[in-house]
Amino acid sequence: MDVDLRVQLGRLALCNPVMVASGTFGYAREMAGLVDLGRLGAIVPKTITRDPRMGNRPPRTVETAAGMLNSIGLDNDGLETFLQKQFPYLAGLGCAIVVSVAGRSHDDFVYLVERLGGVPGIAALELNISCPNVSGGVDFGTDPAMCERVVRGARGVCDLPILAKLTPNVTSVTAIAQAAAGGGADAVSLINTCLGMAVDWRRRRPRLGNVLGGLSGPAIKPIALRAVYQVARAVDIPIIGVGGIASVDDCMEFLVAGASAVQVGTANFYRPAVTMEILDALPGAIAELGASSVAGVVGTLETANGTGGGCPPPAAQGKMDQPITRKSFRYT
């Protein structure tokens, strides 16, 4: 059976749901020898800021049980250098490029989005309002009103689809997701890293140069799945699942829990060709559920309270093959 891998994330159409997560794939050029880049659903290069950032002092990463902590600190050469040096290569790959941006202020975000809105070859923008490693940026991901305002501000100055990447380090991720949807986001990416730390007790020292860092990898998959599940029940816009995805099984778990696409992060570090393995196996896994498209499995989780995930209409229950229609979000 032919399986349709195409996905629609608001106004962003992708040829398949397997993306690579920002900060875990460099600027893609690094991986050209190990990954068939053109096969990826989308590439999200490392987050860029308006001005160059040196990043945090090393050690910047430390391994933890089935995961890792990082405090890279958005080390990047800034917007204009990205456009000159990295973007031309990315634009030639024939794969959707979603540029991730972070700002310290509302105006920073608006500036970045407006500038990138005029650059041909970008498929969408992802607002990184969730990086735990820089002071400033994360407020947009923890305060619903600020989140809504920055998303709306971005929508107002650019015609590209806008994704909002959210942090799990909040009391209610659904409240933030609703705010992002209210501001006009095409989709939300869930989740960025979970704030954590590691200690070397013998030396009485933190193991990261920056003391605190973001936890990622298989260790956070349950948290990410929970976030996707909760948000899928609360908002109408599509969700991109991120967190600990390292196999086709992980990918399917997220789709069933309510994600319309996924981003692979830390797994790129330790299984360089993991995205290709997932793409090879995905059609078979979807067919195993009796579906013939990605949309046919999204949000089809069955709980004691009924089908979970993306609040499908009751008619869709039990009919896996039928794409689940969401109430489409109206942009104002």
């Binding site: 690094e30 020898g33 990043g55």
Partner: protein
């Protein structure tokens, strides 16, 4: 510096895949040599380049660990596998030490830039701790063996010396390998249990100073040692390449965790990725403070 920023070596010819331990033998205290098959990787890898290695089928340890190529193993004259010599210090290397023939590994490489052939008549290789591992291949190359697919013209040395520093004699690994390849070995130990009682850097000046043949230094080991050796090289006016042992999470340039302070030639420095711009740098480019 004219070639700033440093060249970036992407893993364009890297191979990534599963392999099996062929043999894993103790060669010194806590030190082992593991051999595994990986013909594509073995055919490409150059002295000073490294590979990432992880244990298959487990998420703990999760990430690969960077390990230098000790030697390329030939089968019927063709590159077939790689030998890695490692010190069991932590989570992965201790588990690796318990691996037996047939145990599964995942490896990817070659990674990083490797040493630049020096063309010097006298190649002086300074290794501290487990930092001697890249020098077995480099020394052999300087004496005529070739690695990789293209001839790098690395064969010019009339003399190759390894200055090898360790805490104690029991940790000295591979000295017989070096000697039988025609490499002179001079040893220094912290406790005086073998060779010179003191720092390995003490061995350099008598070898290089004065009117001997043109020498070039290469150095790998703990940072304080690299710093001392760079200073000596500068004072003696001999070229020096250093290979850094910066912790790495991916080895391929995609995580930005392995950064080190590299001088920009304008009095400042910038954090650069050791895995793709190194691990080998000209000593004067590294800001050791």
């Amino acid at each position: 510096m004219s070639d700033w920023p440093t060249a970036t070596i992407y893993p364009d010819h890297a191979w990534c895949g599963p392999t099996e331990v062929v043999e894993n033998v103790a060669i010194a205290r806590d030190t082992y040599r593991v051999r595994f098959g990986c013909p594509q990787l073995a055919a490409e890898i150059l002295p000073g380049q490294f590979l990432m290695l992880r244990l298959a089928g487990t998420d703990d340890p999760l990430l690969g660990r960077p390990l230098a190529m000790y030697d390329v193993v030939l089968d019927g004259g063709r590159p077939w596998g790689v030998d890695v010599v490692y010190l069991a210090v932590g989570k992965l290397t201790r588990r690796l030490a318990a691996c037996r023939a047939g145990d599964r590994l995942e490896v990817w490489g070659p990674l990083g830039n490797g040493f630049r052939p020096t063309g010097a008549e006298h190649l002086v290789m300074i290794g501290g701790g487990i930092g001697q591992t890249p020098f077995y291949a480099l020394g052999q190359e300087a004496l005529g063996r070739s690695y990789g697919r293209t001839d790098r013209g690395g064969r010019a040395a009339r003399r190759v010396t390894l200055c090898y520093g360790a805490r104690t004699a029991a940790l000295l690994a591979g000295i017989d390998d070096f000697r039988s390849a025609g490499i002179e070995v001079q040893v220094a130990t912290d406790d005086g249990s073998a060779g010179h009682h003191g720092l390995v850097s003490d061995l350099i000046e008598p070898l290089v100073g004065g009117s001997g043949p043109a020498a070039s230094l290469v150095c790998c080991g703990p940072e304080p040692m690299l710093k001392t050796v760079s200073r000596i090289a500068q004072r003696l006016g001999v070229p020096c390449q250093v290979s850094l042992e910066t912790p790495m999470a991916c080895g391929m340039g995609i995580c930005f965790s392995c950064v080190t302070k590299v001088r920009d030639g304008r009095g400042g420095w910038d954090y650069r990725r050791t895995c793709v711009e190194g691990p080998v740098f000209d000593a004067e480019k590294i800001d050791f403070d």
